[in-house]
């Protein structure tokens, strides 16, 4: 560990600082850049995001630096998640260009909100302090509330934003209350210290505080990632929000929620001794995981709107990821991360295609509109099928490798029952994912439906996702090695 200055390592907070500055700059520039040049803002955003990625790799790198009274910690975990957030945001920005043009959204606001949300996520992943964690979470959430309802004249979007806000704030209160209890139990808001207090509780009379705090914190983050029964907001918000925002929401914030939960795992409040405060966490988490994936998949079957279906599918996927949390080993954090990368690629790809096809007023979201797509846009249908298969968890795709890694850890931990529930859920999910394939390939084209042209930026993003999905699906060796190295396995 090399600390350059006694209190603050400015290099170590450079990425965050840069993102914050970028948000502000874009917001200001948005006031001056003329409408017809608004793409500049997107390009600028992407450049900013990329620079912040570059910072992750500068010099000796950030690995190992801790600063600001342990409020910023750069370990392999935070680097990896930051990378995921920033890259997914960059992809979203690229996807957003046609949306911003079409919907007449104020570009400065829009892009800066995206960047602030990204900053929030980065803060969540790079800290071990509950305060910063909370701040990051709120920064991200508030930005997302606005993004969800950014198309001001769309009542669905407004409704989505409102529901998101009310539910989000509601859950934040629970999270806060939980943090308060944890603070009360341990006298600290820093997870490292909390972990070290685990064995000697200073509040003898209030020893219920720690487990209660942990439980409420779990609920708080569980809300963000969409664990059943805290998932109710997801379908409505995902459906109502503009598709590109949904794309963004389904990836980064979810990953951030899992990053926060995984941070608990890595640092200790849930592990190493599995039964903090005599609570068998694994059973609770396993129950939540099983419930989440099952409910998500079951309701997804009944959907006819593809966006809503993908929303439920994202709930189910949260359930799969939870399997990694149950196993609670450093290796399973690697598996979670790999899954999030895979999920980022396939979900981004799938949503991007839905986004490109949705047409005016979201009418293109009905499953029926995909009838015979394979014979109108063969390439697009093929690629969409690949993403859907990946979401199902078919081999040769990143989705399979992701699930495989998760289940592998779970089996190692002896959670065979949970794994069986999970694989059976995959089968159930195959039904609704493949139903889209059925509509695309096995029905004759509906000639009354015109398929919009695919913007080149969307095509580019989709192509990148496709390459990623296949590459990580077939040859995941390289990335697994990097992840394990950085996660310290």
């Amino acid at each position: 560990m090399k600390v350059l200055m006694p209190s603050i390592d400015y290099m170590a907070i450079m990425p965050q600082t840069l993102l914050g500055v970028a948000g502000l700059v874009i917001l200001l520039l948005g006031l001056f850049v003329p409408r017809r040049r608004q793409d500049l803002l997107a390009v600028l955003s992407i450049i900013f995001l990329n620079i912040s990625v570059l910072f992750l790799f500068t010099g000796k790198g950030l690995l190992g630096s801790v600063t600001l009274n342990q409020m910023v910690t750069w370990d392999g975990f935070s680097i990896l998640f930051t990378l995921l957030f920033v890259v997914s945001s960059a992809f979203t920005v690229a996807l957003s260009i046609p949306f911003v043009n079409r919907e007449n959204v104020h570009p400065g606001e829009y892009y800066s909100l995206l960047i602030f949300a990204t900053l929030g996520m980065v803060l969540m992943a790079t800290t071990t302090d509950l305060l910063i964690l909370f701040l990051g979470l709120e920064l991200m959430s508030i930005a997302l509330y606005i993004l969800a309802s950014i198309t001001r004249n769309n009542d669905k979007a407004a409704e989505a934003g409102m529901k998101y806000l009310i539910m989000g704030a509601f859950s934040s209160a629970f999270l806060l209350y939980g943090i308060a209890f944890m603070y009360g139990a341990t006298g600290s808001t820093n997870l490292v210290e909390i972990a070290s207090y685990m064995n000697i509780s200073p509040m003898g009379a209030y020893e219920w505080m720690l487990p209660a705090g942990l439980g409420l914190v779990l609920i708080g983050f569980g809300f963000k990632v969409g664990l059943v029964p805290f998932h109710m907001w997801i379908p409505d918000v995902y459906e109502g929000a503009p598709t590109v925002v949904t794309t963004f929401m389904s990836i980064g914030p979810k990953a951030a929620g899992f990053a926060a939960l995984a941070r608990f795992l890595l640092l200790g409040p849930f592990i190493p001794n599995h039964e903090v405060g005599n609570i068998p966490w694994p059973i609770l988490l396993a129950g939540l995981a099983g419930l989440t994936m099952t409910i998500g998949n079951l309701i997804a079957i009944a959907q006819t709107n593809i966006k809503r279906m993908l929303a439920y599918s994202s709930i189910a996927h949260a359930g799969y990821v939870m399997v990694g949390l149950v196993t609670a080993s450093p290796k399973s954090v690697s598996a979670i991360y790999f899954y999030m990368v895979a999920y980022f690629l396939m979900n981004m790809g799938a949503f991007a295609i839905v986004y490109a096809l949705q047409g005016e007023n979201g009418r293109g979201l009905a499953l029926k509109r995909f009838m015979g797509l394979a014979y109108k846009k063969p390439g697009l249908a093929l690629v969409f099928s690949v993403f859907l298969l990946s979401l199902t968890g078919f081999p040769l795709t990143a989705g399979f490798m992701g699930k495989f890694n998760l289940f592998r850890e779970a089996v190692d931990a002896g959670l065979i029952g949970l794994v069986i529930v999970a694989v059976l859920n995959s089968v159930v999910s195959a039904y609704y994912y493949l139903r889209v394939v059925v509509f695309m390939y096995m029905h004759d084209p509906d000639e009354s439906v015109t398929v919009p042209e695919i913007p080149s930026m969307v095509g580019f993003v989709v192509a990148l996702c496709l390459v990623g999905v296949l590459y990580f699906g077939i040859l995941p060796g390289g990335i697994l090695k990097v992840i394990n190295l950085l996660m310290g396995n």
Binding site: K163, S171, F174, A212, V228, P229, I279, I295, A300, I301
Partner: protein, 628 residues
């Protein structure tokens, strides 16, 4: 000898291939290939026979066929007096019938196909006879069954023909079910399926084992040789062209069961229970088939039941341990029964395929050759000396007598009486009396020489073939020829020798008397006063009805096996498969989607529902602590 034995099956096989691939070109000349091929086989068989006469035998494997683990089945031949004799009979009769078919099938559109099938049959049959192990025997056993299937259903446009073919195949499969199991049991018990090896070890096996094996083998023989209870296919098999009936369903294939039992006599000798079963089965078959034959109107049906009946005799013979007698009867029967069928075919040819005897009569004036040869055959089957059937039948009955199975003997004599009766009934109704058909519309005519020539040859053999059995105490030529086969281990059970000369003469007398009585009765009823038959039918109307309907056995099988199995199958399909199994499978899917639909209602769209669910979740999670 192995250098040329393989030619016997090879010739007809080549015939098959030529007519198969070049049938379009051979067309109406298909018979040249087919007949020459069988003639070739016959000549080679004669060569083999002459070698065997000199005491030569052969047991030679051409190649390894199925070798798995310790199970070794080869493609090999076994030549001994038994197979040599069979070869002569099979190829000889086959050749004649091939020739006959040239004329009989002349106008049939499926001419090359017919000869193809015939050749295929000859190939299979000679291979069956040549086989040197059980599996190979089984292979050609099934192959002849296939040929039988194809030939019965040769006129496949007729539903009755294709039904009959299918019935034949399936009933035979039931027999083969046992045969196959028998072979497997032989392998399990002896570790080999080579005839020589198995027979060499036979005495080491327990009686129970051997009884089981032989009973299973017998099931196969029952199917193939049309014995009770599996005889039902043979009468229906008459749907095939008449030469086919002559060749396959009278002369050769159906005797395969007898041949097989004779071949395995070592095993059967060691299983007295099985032998007893064979005797009774054979005798009852002979008897009941004869009773049915008494009243049939269809000339071919009578002959079919007569075949079943005669096969019953053969089974009685082999069951008694008188294998030579059985085989002897097999050989003589081949000649005269082929002759009978061909004669019947000749009549049908003349009568535009009419088979109802009540629409014939007085044909002897028009069809001299046919009529005379038919008479010879009738005499032969009735058992009038010096015709062939007398000697062979006499051997079997004599064996029953000397084995002190008097009940069998009595039934045998009774059956012989009936045999003579119904055969001469056929003869009188067909050839004698006054024509009962429209003489002007039917242009009855004698058949061409390609048809009558085989009749004459067969007639000659129907006379002289029996003479090889002249002699006492097993001293006849046939006994001496076959002795090397049947006096291998276990010959002490042989029951053939043992009655004195005077006794023999007495027995002969009884047999001849029975035959003559039968003939006389037939003359009385069907020639002298043909109205009498109707009166008798009316008098015994119940019995007559039962007999005409063949004891309702087909109906019984239909009601007890065919219909229930079909109904069960439909129930399994529509009830069990579609409802229970598939219902479960689809039910799971349905259940899952219904649950999904129900769960949607929780997603009401109201924020308060969401907060409520959230709080319930909180309570659940926190409650999880409290209960811990």
């Amino acid at each position: 000898m192995e250098k040329f034995v393989w030619l016997i099956p090879a010739f007809p096989l080549i015939g098959v291939l030529i007519n198969l691939f070049f049938g379009r070109w051979t067309g109406k000349k298909a018979h040249w290939i087919a007949c020459l091929a069988v003639l070739g086989s016959f000549i080679v068989s004669l060569m083999v026979f002459s070698r065997v006469m000199q005491g030569e035998t052969l047991n030679y494997d051409y190649f390894n066929w199925i070798w798995v683990g310790s199970f070794h089945a080869n493609a090999g031949v076994l030549i001994d007096p038994l197979s040599a004799l069979m070869l002569i009979v099979v190829t000889g009769v086959s050749f004649l019938i091939h020739v006959y078919s040239i004329g009989y099938m002349h106008d049939d559109p499926g001419y090359p196909r017919f000869f193809l099938y015939l050749n295929l049959f000859v190939f299979s049959m000679v291979s069956l006879v040549l086989a040197n192990n059980f599996l190979l025997l089984y292979v050609f056993w099934e192959a002849v069954g296939l040929c039988s299937y194809l030939l019965i259903g040769f006129w496949f446009q007729k539903k009755s023909a294709s039904d009959a073919g299918k019935k034949a195949f399936i009933v035979n499969r039931i027999g083969d079910f046992g045969f196959g199991l028998g072979i497997m049991m032989i392998f399990v018990v002896f570790g080999s399926i080579q005839f020589t090896e198995v027979f060499g070890m036979a005495s080491g096996a327990s009686v129970a084992c051997l009884t089981a094996i032989t009973l299973l083998l017998l099931l196969g023989a029952m199917g193939k040789s049309a014995q009770i209870p599996l005889y039902v296919w043979l009468p229906d098999a008459m749907e095939g062209p008449t030469p086919v009936s002559a060749l396959i369903h009278a002369a050769t294939m159906v005797t395969a069961g007898v041949y097989m039992i004779a071949r395995c006599h070592v095993l059967f000798n060691l299983a007295p229970l099985t032998q007893n079963v064979i005797i009774w089965m054979g005798m009852l078959t002979a008897f009941f088939a004869a009773t049915i034959a008494l009243v049939q109107k269809d000339i071919k049906r009578v002959l079919a039941y007569s075949t079943i009946s005669q096969l019953g005799y053969m089974f009685v013979g082999v069951g008694l341990g008188a294998y030579t007698a059985g085989i002897f009867h097999l050989a003589t029967h081949a000649f005269f029964k082929a002759l009978l069928f061909l004669g019947a075919g000749s009549v049908m040819h003349a009568m535009a395929n009419e088979t109802d005897m009540w629409k014939m009569g007085g044909l002897s004036k028009i069809m001299k050759y046919t009529s005379w040869t038919f008479l010879i055959a009738c005499l032969a089957i009735a058992g009038i000396p010096p015709f062939a059937g007398f000697f062979s039948k006499e051997e079997i009955l004599g064996a029953a007598w000397s084995a002190h199975r008097y009940e069998i003997y009595a039934l045998g004599i009774l059956t012989a009486l009936m045999t003579a009766f119904y055969m001469f009934r056929v003869y009188f109704l067909t050839f004698k009396g006054t024509p009962r058909y429209n003489v002007h519309s039917h242009h009855a005519h004698e058949s061409p020489w390609v048809m009558t020539f085989p009749l004459m040859v067969l007639a000659v053999f129907s006379v002289i073939a029996g003479w090889v059995g002249i002699g006492t105490h097993g001293g006849s030529w046939i006994h001496q020829f076959l002795n090397p086969v049947f006096t291998l281990p276990g010959s002490e059970h042989m029951a053939e020798a043992g009655h004195s000369g005077s006794e023999q003469l007495l027995l002969m007398g009884i047999a001849i008397a029975a035959a003559l009585a039968g003939i006389g009765l037939a003359w009385q009823i069907y020639l002298k006063d043909i109205k009498q038959s109707d009166r008798m039918a009316a008098q015994f109307s119940g019995l007559h009805k039962v007999l005409t309907n063949k004891y309702y056995v087909d109906e019984f099988y239909d009601a007890v096996f065919v219909t229930p199995i079909k109904n069960i199958s439909i129930a399994l399909w529509r009830g069990f498969d579609a409802v229970v199994i598939d219902g479960t499978v689809n039910g799971i899917g349905w259940f899952v989607s219904i649950i999904g639909q129900l769960l949607r209602y929780f997603q009401s769209g109201y924020v308060r529902t969401y907060t409520t669910m959230f709080v319930i979740g909180v309570i659940a999670v926190l409650g999880f602590y409290l209960t811990r």
